[in-house]
């Protein structure tokens, strides 16, 4: 089932045409990877999926992004609700300067998704279990989230997201500030999460895309050159440009 459908999407930063006529269908409960050279618009495209580009001055967006049958760019769409449904994990882990508990509970409490303390406690536990932090941290929930290792911080950021129960998780180079071991752990985590969530990940690491994703899109200069099953993109792409890039002949 297609959970996201991008139709004729164009994005301009003031006058710079950053996303050019992108069409794409993203399947539910799969990992979709976006690859391409630096500056080709991967992050920009990812960020259109939860309207977080809206907050940047001078951005103009044309086209439709349909999530669960509803166009999120409809003038009367509820942006906060969209963002809660389509959460985002960033390149640098960015836990709030709050305790571990409050980091995870933040979205729940501010959005008033729960009313009772024991419900909050339960969801915090569940979310930390889902990212495999619970066993290590269950006695340190009052510790600041900023005191954790980078890998743990990134896990905490994921736990914070899944506490508000999104359907889709966007990750923008989530491993680029982590060492190889931590990267492997986060990749494992993504495999586990995909049964519950749809995952879209931007990565500059082709091996990573090949290892973890089900489908891969190759972008170049704001265009989506090719989008297909990951195996096909990496072994037998149909476009010359894709072949040049995945075989390392790009230049």
């Amino acid at each position: 089932m297609d959970i996201i459908e991008i139709k004729n999407l164009n994005l301009f930063y003031t006058n710079f045409h950053a996303i050019k006529d992108v069409n794409m269908k993203i399947k539910a409960n799969k990992i979709t990877a976006l690859i391409g050279p630096s500056g080709c618009g991967k992050s920009t495209l990812l960020r259109t999926l939860n309207r977080i580009n809206d907050t940047i001055e001078g951005v103009r967006i044309e086209g439709d992004v349909i999530v669960n049958g509803k166009n999120i760019y409809d003038p009367d769409a509820d942006v906060d609700r969209i963002r809660r449904n389509v959460g985002m994990v960033f390149q640098r882990p960015n836990p709030f300067p709050l305790s571990i508990y409050n980091n995870v509970a933040f979205g729940l409490q501010i959005n008033r998704l729960v009313s009772r303390k024991d419900e909050t406690d339960f969801i915090v536990k569940e979310s930390l279990e889902d990212v495999q932090l619970w066993d290590d941290l269950k006695d340190k929930l009052k510790m600041s989230g900023l005191e954790l290792s980078l890998e743990q911080q990134q896990r905490l950021c994921i736990a914070r997201l899944i506490a508000v129960k999104p359907e889709i998780i966007l990750l923008d180079e989530p491993c680029s500030s982590l060492d190889p071991m931590a990267t492997a752990h986060i990749e494992e985590l993504m495999q586990e999460l995909k049964s519950k969530y749809t995952i879209v990940i931007v990565t500059h690491n082709m091996q990573q895309a090949a290892r973890i994703s089900d489908e891969t899109g190759y972008m170049l200069l704001g265009k989506l050159i090719e989008f297909d099953a990951t195996g096909k993109i990496f072994t037998n792409p149909s476009k010359q440009e894709t072949d040049d890039y995945v075989s390392g002949r790009f230049g």
Binding site: I52, D80, M88, F90, N94, I110, L146
Partner: protein, 285 residues
């Protein structure tokens, strides 16, 4: 003639000039402080700080002037801080970069350059006369708060800007609205910076004379301030009066009054500096 200094020597000369210029900055401060302390410390006593003036202000204490200054200044900061912080939030977090925003920003920069006596005349015209506050604590406080507004806005914007954009994005992507993000993430983290800025502002306006000259300050008031609409004595103006208007004024009382004012201002600045160092230390991003 082709005269060239040897590079080692020119380096030394440059160093000496730069160092001397720096010393020149602190010498006047040291002399002023030393002079005031030397001439004024003998006047300082518990009685001096806590009693009314006597003998045509030639003896007794300066309590009404201290309380007058404190009430004007605290009242001013209570007006200017909320308004300034709200304006800073609007400019930083909401305002689009359009003509109106640019005009507002330009106005803020220019307001900061207006001489303080002009604010005093403005306060006289608007608050004292037009709005009928009379010469009073409230008129002086409003005048000072308008004068300090650009400074508060500028420091508050700095504090808001120092909160990483990544925190805002993280909060938005949990479905937290813009306002809730400001309220629960941005403001709490900007608060230390805003508060240190506010303390420095208090220090700055405590010593201002011109803005309160026509709007709040009285030559002599025989009782302590009772309401917002009272005229009050104020330290800087009192200092001016006893130094120039009263014959046979004991020197140590003049310098003692200056010392109290100086201590008030310096201790505020010191608190702000210590607070800033402390908050930098505990800040973790």
């Amino acid at each position: 003639m082709n005269f060239k200094l040897n590079p080692k020597l020119s380096q030394k000369i440059a160093y000496a000039v730069l160092f001397l210029s720096t010393i020149l900055v602190i010498i006047p401060v040291l002399i002023i402080v030393f002079n005031i302390v030397k001439n004024g410390y003998s006047a300082i006593s518990w009685e001096f700080l806590t009693t009314m003036p006597k003998d045509g202000m030639r003896a007794g204490g300066i309590l009404p002037a201290i309380l007058g200054t404190l009430s004007i200044v605290l009242c001013a900061i209570m007006i200017t801080l909320p308004v300034g912080v709200c304006a800073a939030i609007y400019l930083n977090e909401y305002a689009k970069d359009n003509l109106l925003t640019r005009i507002i920003k330009l106005a803020i920069v220019n307001l900061a350059g207006v001489p303080s006596v002009v604010y005093g005349l403005f306060g006289l015209g608007i608050f004292v006369m037009l709005l009928g506050c009379g010469v009073s604590i409230i008129a002086g406080a409003l005048t000072l708060s308008i004068m300090e507004l650009p400074v508060i806005i500028t420091t508050a914007r700095g504090a808001l800007n120092s909160v990483p954009y990544a925190f805002r994005e993280a909060s938005w992507s949990l479905g937290v609205s813009r306002w809730q993000t400001i309220r629960h993430i941005v403001l709490p983290n900007a608060l230390p910076g805003i508060m240190t800025g506010a303390i420095l502002s208090i220090a700055r306006i405590s010593g201002e004379t011109a803005p309160i000259l026509f709007t709040a300050a009285a030559f002599y008031v025989p009782h302590l301030p009772k309401s917002m609409f009272d005229q009050v004595m104020a330290l800087p103006y009192h200092l001016y009066i006893i130094s120039t208007q009263i014959p046979n004024m004991p020197k140590n009382i003049i310098f003692g009054t200056a010392l109290v004012l100086l201590m008030l201002v310096l201790s505020m600045s010191l608190i702000a500096i210590v607070a800033r160092i402390y908050f930098r230390k505990i800040r973790k991003w």
